[in-house]
């Protein structure tokens, strides 16, 4: 039972962590596809 709860807790921790990391990377943001960095 403890393993199951830890598994579920890990899902929440990973999701929040992933959101922070991906947010920092600026993934899927408008800047990524139309900002100055991608002008050619």
């Amino acid at each position: 039972m403890k393993a199951m709860l830890l598994g579920f807790l890990a899902i929440i921790v990973i999701a929040i962590g992933a959101s922070n990391i991906l947010g920092t990377l600026g993934y899927s943001s408008s800047d990524r596809y139309s900002g100055a960095a991608v002008r050619n």
Binding site: G7, A10, I11, A18
Partner: protein, 406 residues
């Protein structure tokens, strides 16, 4: 049975071919277009409306030629060799030389009518067949339960238990299972929200749910991928098919027909099928999911189609060649379609897995609940594994006693 399983995997692997083949020309119908000067005729339009496949090369290739422009001093000499209609055709069929100042390759695609086919597929075929697959599976499981009832431990519980799964195995399983359920639910909300939730709760409530579903889906996906890697590493060695599986399948696992429970190692053939479905389908879902998370950065299908064409398998079964020139948007459309198709198939498989691991079989849940299963359950469903477990335990106890005596 193994051959059937292989055929199923092959069919599912080749399934996107049908989706990608929608633009495949049908060369059997020759239409006389002299009356329209080569442009499409009423027959073309009616055939398209009837859902028939048309050879579009008569217009995809009609994009003009600057070299044919009249000389500067001739009549119409300043108009060039390409008409407006020809320019639009070139844009539509991706042969126009488009230059953009921002956005890269994606932005050079100004017209992409494959989006309409994808949209129609998602809104009709995917929802209909996917939805009915899930409902059909639940009904089939209910009927199975009504007919067969719960699979009991034949001789009752002994009260003695053996450790079936260690804590780390159960952690990996629940990480995968929990994330899969969350991903399944949020995926279904995204696909069906507009159809079922908007009429009940209105657009605002649906939009709120969609925003959260998208956030949850995009971020919980990483937990699913980690769980997938964990169970693969921990269990792959126990899931390699062997002769015991053939015997187990012939007996229907002692579940489908008769009550003679065939011997099995740590995992029986049914569990191995679940394992490989989760690994292969889940892996493919994860791959396409990551491709969708980073739009246009990880194109998968043109390369996969190229490899599939090279095997010659599709040509052998009369499906022709798959397109290997795909616009970035087409890659995304195919990734979404494939992601969703496999997700529906895997959800149906997981329904059966959840059923047999909970209400369907007495004692089965303990394996993933506490990790300890009753010896009678283990003897009934995994007799070879139990023998090996006891032999290993005897060895350990023997060695410990020897060490203590010394």
């Amino acid at each position: 049975m193994l051959r059937m399983a292989l055929a199923l995997v092959l069919m599912l692997t080749l399934a996107p071919a049908g989706f990608a083949q929608e633009s495949t020309p049908d060369t059997t119908a020759e239409i006389d277009r002299s009356a329209t000067g080569g442009a499409q005729t009423l027959e073309d339009i009616l055939a398209r409306q009837a859902g028939q496949k048309l050879d579009d090369s008569f217009r995809s290739g009609a994009v003009g030629d600057p070299d044919n422009a009249a000389g500067i001093a001739s009549q119409l000499g300043t108009l060039g060799g390409v008409s407006d209609a020809e320019t639009w055709r070139a844009l539509r069929y991706g042969s126009a030389n488009v230059k953009v100042s921002a956005g890269g390759d994606v932005a050079t695609v100004l017209v992409q009518d494959g989006g309409m086919r994808w949209h129609e597929f998602r809104d009709t075929t995917l929802r209909t067949y996917g939805g009915w697959l899930l409902i059909g599976t639940l009904v089939a499981l209910l009927v199975f339960y009504v007919l067969h009832g719960r699979i009991k431990i034949d001789d009752g519980r002994t009260g003695r238990t053996v450790t079936r799964f260690k804590a780390i195995e159960r952690f990996g399983h629940w990480l995968l299972a929990g994330s899969f359920i969350v991903l399944g639910l949020t995926g279904l909300l995204v696909l069906f929200g507009r159809v079922f939730l908007v009429p009940l709760f209105g657009k605002d409530a649906n939009a709120f749910l969609l925003v959260w579903s998208k956030w949850v889906h995009n971020n919980v996906a990483w937990a699913f991928i980690l769980g997938l890697v964990m169970i693969f590493v921990m269990w792959v060695v126990h899931n390699i098919p062997n002769r015991t599986d053939l015997h187990w399948l012939r007996k229907g696992g002692g579940i489908l027909f008769g009550h003679d429970h065939p011997p099995a190692k740590k995992f029986n053939a049914g569990q191995k099928m679940i394992f490989w479905s989760v690994i292969l389908f889940g892996g493919s879902i994860a791959l396409t999911g990551v491709s969708l998370l980073f739009p246009f950065d990880l194109p998968l299908f043109a390369k996969s189609f190229h490899m599939l064409n090279a095997t010659g398998l599709l040509q052998m079964i009369g499906m022709g060649e798959l397109p290997v020139q795909l616009a970035p948007q087409e890659e995304m459309q195919l990734a979404q379609a494939w992601h969703a198709i496999l997700a529906f198939v895997l959800m149906a498989i997981v329904f059966a897995h959840i059923y047999i691991g909970s209400v369907g079989m007495e004692g089965a849940y303990d394996a993933m609940g506490t990790g300890e299963v009753d010896e009678a359950w283990a003897e009934q469903h995994h007799s070879i594994w139990l023998e090996e477990y006891k032999a290993a335990e005897r060895d350990t106890n023997g060695n410990a006693a020897k060490t203590a005596a010394e």
